[in-house]
């Protein structure tokens, strides 16, 4: 199919007169893509998903699935299926009946229904629990039933609304890998709604970051993480230091402490307030007499806190700029630890920084 899987054009959703849940959203999701809508709760990501599914209709705008305008089509006439946040499994039906529901509705032949249900249950390793009621299954199993119930219909687009939210950490991480693999195998377009940035980063081909009803940035995981386009995106995705600086006119900037630093190449402008976004893992601490790689920025700091995370050490350091800067150092063998109160140089490559406005 040449058409993109899903196209949203100027989609706005208002509830009542005042609440704007989604604001003039333009988004194109390619066929076979694993696309995540990422944002804090109430950002409009779930409403967007529900509009694609047909549970809500946009106040304005157009939603096309593989080129076909969806308009006011009810959910049952759309070539999409949803995996609900709470799974929404039918409690009065067995696992197999749950999975067969969609096929029975579309008048698929009985033998074909049986064949497809048993195949998909095999895929999610639940063949042995086909006759169980959902309430007899663990959270992880229910999750897989919900997935099987949607996938068995071979929809053009699969919509997933925080499907891993209710699982504990270990299971969630395992399911992330499983979901990603599954998507690769079945080749169906996945639209995945989550507020968990790690989940979005690890699974997605592309991510759309939303806040307050607007789509702020769309891009591949690395783009979003390495080059956030706005302060909100930088702050929302991962840990980050946001440092207010003043451009000095010669491609560099001045911290509020007065220290001069170099910025990524090509930065121009002077006496403008701007925010420097620096990932903690791109920062390093050096002894005062240690050699620092050429071209790196160096700022003299004092360690004010050290937190042990097992795999990493987190330092909060004071550079005299009002807020503390967070540094993340890997817990490698023989790594040199800095004690609270110790002075050191904070150093980073100018290219590791991002300048964000607003």
């Amino acid at each position: 199919m040449a058409n993109p899987a899903v196209e949203l054009a100027g989609v706005t959703k208002r509830f009542g007169d005042e609440v704007v849940a989604v604001n003039e959203l333009d988004l194109t999701i390619e066929d076979g893509e694993f696309f995540s809508l990422l944002g804090p709760s109430g950002c409009g990501k779930t409403t967007t998903l529900r509009m694609i599914a047909g549970f809500e209709f946009p106040t304005e705008g157009s939603i096309r699935i593989h080129g076909k305008e969806m308009g006011l089509k009810p959910p049952n006439q759309r070539p999409v299926n949803t995996v609900f946040q709470s799974y929404a499994l039918f409690p009065h039906m067995s696992v197999a009946e749950n999975v067969a529901f969609g096929l029975n509705m579309t008048k698929v032949e009985k033998s074909e229904v049986q064949r497809r249900v048993s195949r998909v249950l095999d895929q999610v390793q639940l063949s042995k629990r086909a006759d169980a009621r959902p309430s007899q299954l663990s959270g992880g199993m229910q999750q897989r039933v919900a997935l099987a119930r949607a996938l068995v219909n071979e929809p053009e687009v699969l919509l997933l609304d925080e499907p891993l939210g209710a699982l504990d950490l270990k299971l969630r991480q395992a399911m992330q890998v499983e979901l990603k693999d599954l998507q690769g195998r079945v080749g169906i377009t996945f639209i995945y709604v989550t507020h968990d940035q790690e989940e979005a980063l690890t699974m997605s081909d592309r991510i759309g970051v939303m806040n307050e009803g607007s789509l702020l940035q769309v891009g591949r995981s690395e783009e979003i993480y390495e080059h956030p386009a706005s302060r909100f995106v930088a702050d929302f995705i991962g840990d980050i230091n946001l440092i207010d600086v003043t451009l000095n006119g010669s491609g560099g900037a001045r911290l509020s402490s007065g220290a001069e630093i170099a910025l990524p190449g090509g930065t121009t402008g002077s006496e403008t307030q701007i925010t420097l976004a620096l990932r903690p893992e791109r920062l390093a601490l050096y002894d005062l007499d240690e050699e620092i790689p050429a071209g790196y920025n160096r700022v003299r700091v004092k360690v004010s806190r050290r937190l042990y995370y097992g795999d990493v050490h987190f330092y909060d350091v004071d550079a005299g700029i009002g807020t503390e800067i967070e540094v993340k150092e890997e817990n490698r063998p023989g790594v040199e630890l800095y004690e609270v109160g110790e002075e050191a140089y904070l150093a980073w490559s100018p290219e590791a920084a991002n300048l964000v406005t607003s």
Binding site: A53, G54, F55, P74, P75, N76, V80, N81, T82, F84, S86, A88, L89, F90, P91, H92, F101, G102, M105, T106, R149, A150, N153
Partner: protein, 301 residues
């Protein structure tokens, strides 16, 4: 975890199995004491009278019609199978079933409507459902006599439209209208309770899986609201079967129902043993109906 038993706060010694056991027993005793008043009430005013009725159903009558508690026999029970009684029974059963069915059909959409409103509107509607209870049932049933009589508005409307005046009063239809009217709230409330608990995301899931609105209702909403349907049906069917006031006021002399038949045995005919046997027969049918309903309801869940 269960709440720790409330024990004597004075005892602060380390706990031993004996102390723990004693605390558990004290807890059980306290529970029994709380239930005791209602227990006494039920035994005095329900179990004992019912036992008396049971005993009377095996008694005989002397020449003057007085009940004598000797010569125990099954005559009253044999009479239950006479054509007259079976006819009354069948009529009562059909009427109770019709009342239940009509209430269900009328009340389900209404309960559905209430359950899907905002909490504010919901409360107002629920109060409206309960308003009829604020005035006496007898008074309301008398009002139906006016409405259904030959001088009533229904009849007048028929004349106005060029038809014949008619009278529904003293017919089975009048009784049916009265019963449906009287027991409607008993159907609405359990149905509402069941629908209010509904997880509407399940309906969305059904719609998502290609079910149209009606199919989603049939496959998901209805089966999941069965507990309400069962409870409402029992609450309407049982009082309809034994109803006395409504058939007595709205029904005709030729359409005797179980309720007034039993009353007439105790009062006019002064046949206490037979009246008692009839009462037990009705209770037995109600028990069967209840078991049947619960079984049917349990199957869907």
């Amino acid at each position: 975890m269960a709440a720790p038993p409330v024990t004597d706060p004075e005892v602060t010694a380390p706990v031993t199995p004996e102390l723990e056991h004693a605390a558990g027993k004290a807890e059980a005793r306290r529970g029994f004491l709380i239930a005791l008043p209602s227990f006494i009430y039920l035994v005095l005013l329900f179990v004992i009278p019912l036992g008396l009725v049971f005993v009377y159903s095996f008694a005989t009558r002397d020449a003057t019609g007085q009940t004598v508690l000797e010569d125990w026999n099954l005559e009253s029970y044999k009479r239950l199978f006479s054509t007259e009684v079976l006819e009354i029974f069948l009529r009562s059963l059909v009427l109770a079933a019709l009342t239940t069915g009509i209430c269900l059909i009328v009340c389900y959409p209404f309960a559905f409507y209430i359950a899907t409103r905002t909490p504010r509107v919901r409360n107002i509607l629920l109060i409206l459902v309960m308003i009829p209870f604020w005035s006496n049932f007898l008074v309301r049933t008398y009002a139906w006599r006016v409405l259904l009589g030959s001088e009533g508005p229904l009849s007048q409307l028929s004349v106005l439209l060029g038809g014949e005046p008619f009278r529904l009063l003293f017919t089975n239809v009048a009784v049916l209208i009265g019963l449906v009217y009287g027991f409607m709230p008993f159907m609405v409330l359990p149905l509402y309770a069941a629908l209010e608990r509904m997880d509407w995301r399940l309906v969305e899931a059904a719609r998502d899986l290609y079910a149209d609105g009606w199919t989603a209702f049939r496959k998901v909403t209805l089966p999941l609201s069965m507990p309400g349907v069962v409870a409402g049906s029992i609450l309407v069917f049982i009082p309809s079967l034994g109803a006395y006031v409504t058939p007595a006021l709205l029904g005709g002399a030729r359409t005797v129902l179980m309720g007034d038949y039993i009353v007439s045995q105790f009062l006019a005919a002064r046949n206490w043993p037979f009246g008692s046997a009839l009462s037990f027969a009705v209770m037995f049918v109600m028990l069967l109906a209840t078991i049947f309903y619960f079984r049917a309801g349990a199957k869907t869940l």
